[in-house]
Subunit: 312 residues, 2 copies
């Protein structure tokens, strides 16, 4: 599966209840990685690892459970930037990852070690070990670094364009193409198509690896709104009416099936007519572990059905 | 005054009770600075700032009061190094200092900002803004980085030599030579002469700036033993019997007076005979704020008396 942050992590947590975790590979966006206070921070990767390790903050979806904020309190006393909420337990991962990167280890190897230490049995793969920082062009401020746009400015600026710096020269991390080649089906989590899935598809080899696979996406938009994050706002600002249909068009030529919420059932015929995608209508909101499992189960079954149909 | 870590910080805390804090400049060793997890850490400077800010851990002398250890607990879970005890509140300072250094600010300017934020009215000056990492040559392991020797190996290896890398080309930080030039007297805290005071004296201009001043040192050795740290062990391993007399000889030609503990009263005549230094015998152990103040008071009065005597 391909995953961004909170939506991707929650879908992954469902999928490892449906399939043997060892048979699940979660390929994660690193376009939102950045350096802050000299530390390498991988927000999407962290959210996926914390969630699969059962260490996530269940209220926010990001960050650690039982977190404390003493380091950031010191930063605040000293007048430093506090817009990116770094908890103390969370900082430990950034410290150790930065230490290993500076010692020459690859992000993918570090992620494997982190998952092993925390008993995560699924394979979690950063899509690439190369830096591919996402930038967002905005009406008000021109090009912004992603976390500046996303966290510091809370997605308030109006987007005009996206850039995945370095993506054209990036190589998929070890294991990524292998996992895609071995996959029975590829599921695209209900993550932001613009800034979570898009940066991964921009890396040479990833989109191509999907071409021979049954691919099913879960719409991150429900009733024209994003469960979390700026996906709907981005569609509107890019001149596209935000809806599950917009998501279907976004993934046109890439996915064979789209999972949409019951609130969007009426769009199903239009989606199929416009894109040729099969549509599965279900409850696509995942506030609880049981709902994550249920969504992963129907999505996986849907993908298997499409795969067998394509074969037959 | 010249200061290393805990002994220097405690003496400084006494001195700002004796003199108006605004008239006290504390010039601090940075030979023990190092980079850990990508963060710039200045242990002696931190200990001085925490102590003068009333934020120090009163039990250890280093680190912050009311500290938590959640970041390091994560590092431990991930198999990372935990030999350098980084608390969560402490980390906040390292984060913000590293951020400012990477933004081009000087260590001295950052230290000024930290002191201002915490209401420290004394002037705290890193002796230099240039890197001057201390290395220790040991019988067992050859040359070791200072914190590797000092913290990781807990001073166990046998020392043969010291090196202050880059010191010969380092420049005193802005304010250092000015503070020394303006000083009525210079006090050398009961810090380690080898690795706390020595690195500062190795920077061109510092020793020279003391030449025209009345300089009084407080012996860090009491009854041949260091109150804290490896000073006595270092003297022995360098082939010198550890004692207040050894300290006097170490500072020969530099200081006019030495403050020794009552336990070393019998050494006073030998010190004066061997080095020409005046000796003041007092209670040189500072377990409480009152004792820090008392030691600073008699040391300052001693320096003033020597200054007036030299003048007259």
């Amino acid at each position: 599966m391909l995953a961004g942050g909170v939506g991707g992590a929650r879908f992954a947590a469902g999928l490892v209840q449906v399939l043997p975790p060892e048979q699940v590979a979660v390929i994660v966006n690193v376009g939102d990685d950045f350096t802050h206070f000299g530390l390498h921070i991988s927000p999407d990767l962290d959210t996926v690892c914390y969630t699969l390790a059962g260490r996530e903050n269940p209220d926010t979806g990001w960050g650690r459970a039982d977190e404390t904020w003493h380091a950031l309190a010191t930063v605040a006393e000293l007048g430093g930037p506090t817009w990116f909420r770094l908890g103390d337990r969370d900082l430990g991962l950034h410290l150790e990852r930065t230490r290993r990167l500076q010692a020459g280890q690859r992000l993918s190897a570090i992620t494997r070690a982190v998952c092993q230490a925390w008993g995560v049995r699924a394979q979690v793969l950063p899509v690439t070990d190369d830096p591919v920082p996402t930038r967002v062009r905005t009406t008000e401020h021109g090009w912004l670094d992603f976390q500046d746009y996303f966290v510091r400015r809370q997605c308030a600026p109006r987007v005009q364009d996206f850039e995945f710096v370095g993506a054209a020269r990036a190589r998929p991390a070890p294991g990524v193409l292998e996992a895609l080649a071995a996959a029975e089906a590829v599921l695209i989590a209900p993550s932001n198509p613009w800034v979570s899935i898009g940066p991964m598809l921009a890396i040479p080899g990833v989109r191509e690896a999907l071409a021979s696979k049954t691919v099913v996406a879960v719409s991150p938009l429900i009733g024209g709104r994003a469960v979390k994050g700026p996906a709907a706002k981005m569609y509107a600002e890019m001149g596209i009416e935000p809806s599950a249909l917009a998501v279907a068009r976004h993934y046109q030529g890439l996915v064979h099936g789209l999972v949409v919420d019951a609130a969007d059932a009426a769009l199903a015929p239009r989606i199929t007519a416009a894109t040729g995608q099969a549509v599965l209508v279900t409850d696509a909101w995942m506030p609880t572990p049981a709902r994550r499992r249920a969504l992963a189960q129907v999505t996986w079954d849907f993908a298997q059905a499409l795969r067998l149909a394509a074969r037959g």
